[in-house]
Assembly symmetry: C2
Homo-oligomer: 341 residues x 2
């Protein structure tokens, strides 16, 4: 019953020719006679011959596989980005293997090592928030394996990068709050280790400054998930001068903040407005009121990362790297605009 995978040698044996001839016949090499080619191809089809990718990889030193490392696939942003990578990869004949770092530095290092041991042709990564040492990624570069950063990039390493206008997106979000008449705008920012956190915070600060609002450090706390968003929003609401709006580093923090605001008996957006970042479509239209957010083109980010990888392998001598910066879009919903309730 067990039908072992048929190899080129099986075909060769059955036709009483050499494996070399079979190999050439299958790829339509001009040296091989029409007659032989026909016989080989027919037998290959009838036996359902499938080339052994392992052997191919060993021989060609190429696996036609690219590794993608993300913190967690459960997040809408990352799974969309992965789908984007897959789209370009499949088109170019590449496979994609997905690794989750679970926001753990050690796991990320382990991921990199397995990908390297499996000789992937390239690595696309969005780094864990707990990664501060980048030697595992420098090793990737040193080994000549193409490396592309997306979203959560590392500035210490020269490589292709795909990011969004984090600062501008954040600026627009806060500007929108100001335009809506909010005066005491808080920010729940992400871990300082991530450039995206720093940039979004900078956008927040710039928007305040440009609009003549003094920055109150008490309105700036850190949070990077629902729980901490909830807890720190609670703290913000206990200030003698509580904020009347909050911009959060991502949508999950915003969800936590909304919970805290509702529990405090305050109305959104009348008493406190909330705006997130990323526009996780699984949740922004679910919470009441619908959450305003800064949409990132996640799929396109993945696509672009894939394209940069392809560019690097076709143009491997070039040592200049691109930093592609994509635009964000401000999505206004009920959480910041009562007209949209």
């Amino acid at each position: 019953m067990k039908t072992r995978q048929v190899t080129i040698k099986d075909i060769a044996r059955q036709l009483d020719i050499s494996p070399a001839t079979v190999s050439r016949a299958l790829k339509d090499h001009p040296d091989i006679s029409k007659h032989t080619k026909k016989a080989v191809i027919e037998l290959a089809n009838s036996l359902n011959y499938q080339p052994n990718s392992i052997a191919l990889s060993l021989r060609s030193q190429k696996t036609f596989t690219i590794g993608v490392i993300v913190p967690e696939i459960i997040h809408f942003f990352f799974s969309s980005a992965i789908s984007g990578v897959e789209a370009t990869a499949y088109k170019a004949g590449y496979n994609v293997v997905i690794c989750q770092s679970n926001e753990s530095y050690e796991r990320e290092v382990a991921n990199v090592n397995t990908l390297l041991n499996n000789r992937v042709d390239g690595i696309l990564i969005s780094v864990s928030k707990n990664t501060t040492d980048f030697s595992h990624l420098k090793k990737v570069v040193n080994m000549g394996v193409p490396l592309v950063f997306f979203d959560r990039i590392c500035n210490e390493i020269d490589a292709h990068k795909v990011i969004v206008e984090d600062k501008k997106g954040a600026y627009n979000a806060v500007k929108h709050l100001i335009d809506q008449g909010y005066k005491h705008i808080a920010h729940l920012s992400g871990p300082e280790s991530l450039q995206i956190s720093r940039l979004r915070k900078d956008g927040y600060l710039d928007a305040l400054k440009d609009n003549g609002i003094a920055h109150d450090p008490r309105l700036l706390l850190q949070a990077d998930n629902r729980m901490s968003g909830y807890q720190n929003m609670k703290k913000l609401l206990q200030l003698e001068q509580r904020p009347d709006a909050v911009f959060t580093v991502n949508d999950n923090v915003a969800i936590g903040a909304i919970k805290a605001i509702k529990e405090a008996g305050l109305k959104i957006p009348q008493d406190v407005a909330v705006i997130g970042f990323s526009d996780d479509q699984k949740i922004t239209s679910l919470v009441e009121p619908h959450l305003s957010s800064v949409a990132q083109p996640a799929f396109q980010i993945g696509q672009t990362a894939g394209e940069l990888f392809l560019k690097q392998i076709t143009n491997s001598d070039s040592d200049s790297f691109e930093e592609v910066v994509l635009d964000t879009e401000l999505i206004i919903r009920g959480s910041t605009d009562s007209a949209k309730l």
Copy 2:
């Protein structure tokens, strides 16, 4: 700068011994002298030697990789299940490659083929809802590649399976609605092609029957995403005798139904109760009121699937297969119980 990966041959050349000796030294083979071992291991470490998995796979005919095919990683259930698979796989020294079928039969077939060409040691799959022909999976079995189904299984194929008590879970959900006093209970069921849909529907029907409620076919419609859940709930609400409760095949359909109910100006759960299936934690506690649901142990399902795979490879002569059935848990929230609002 480019540090090509160092091979066993490099080490052999530097120490002026044969590759065979290096290989044996590295795996502490008793034939090799302490002195040689020490030299080899030290050099290997200093050169940061990493065995080439490709070569290993070719030689041993094992890749230590298992392929997992799911419809879409974006869903909480599937990403949790994947994490479960990874947990057991990593512990046993296996890698996991994830494929998305995107609920497309063609893509699923393509996924199976790439996995086979890459000679994975096993395939774990939750089939697409558009898969009605299973020859691609029969091929997997015929080739002697261990196959494990989880959640969305196929009855035509003899293989290990991991499922939950879908019927019982559905029964309990509907029983709960009945206990809460609801009389006209609708069901938005999934595609008939999936056994889980059929079982959940059966559980619904059984619960009605066992409690002396006549089944009204007008209260049974199909829906498998937010949009269709919304649309078909709307239809249900237009019936002259509208339902006062609805049990949906999954949480996203429930979300759509909730939207329709709210738009109709009806109160949840006073006018209409809603209960979903799966307990997608990203959303059940987000929607207002919080959604009751039948929780599936997604992580454990993945873990178990991984364990069944391991069992099959260590015990490859056995041709008896297990069907592991895990329990569900009824999670009662505000959408079915006003006491929980």
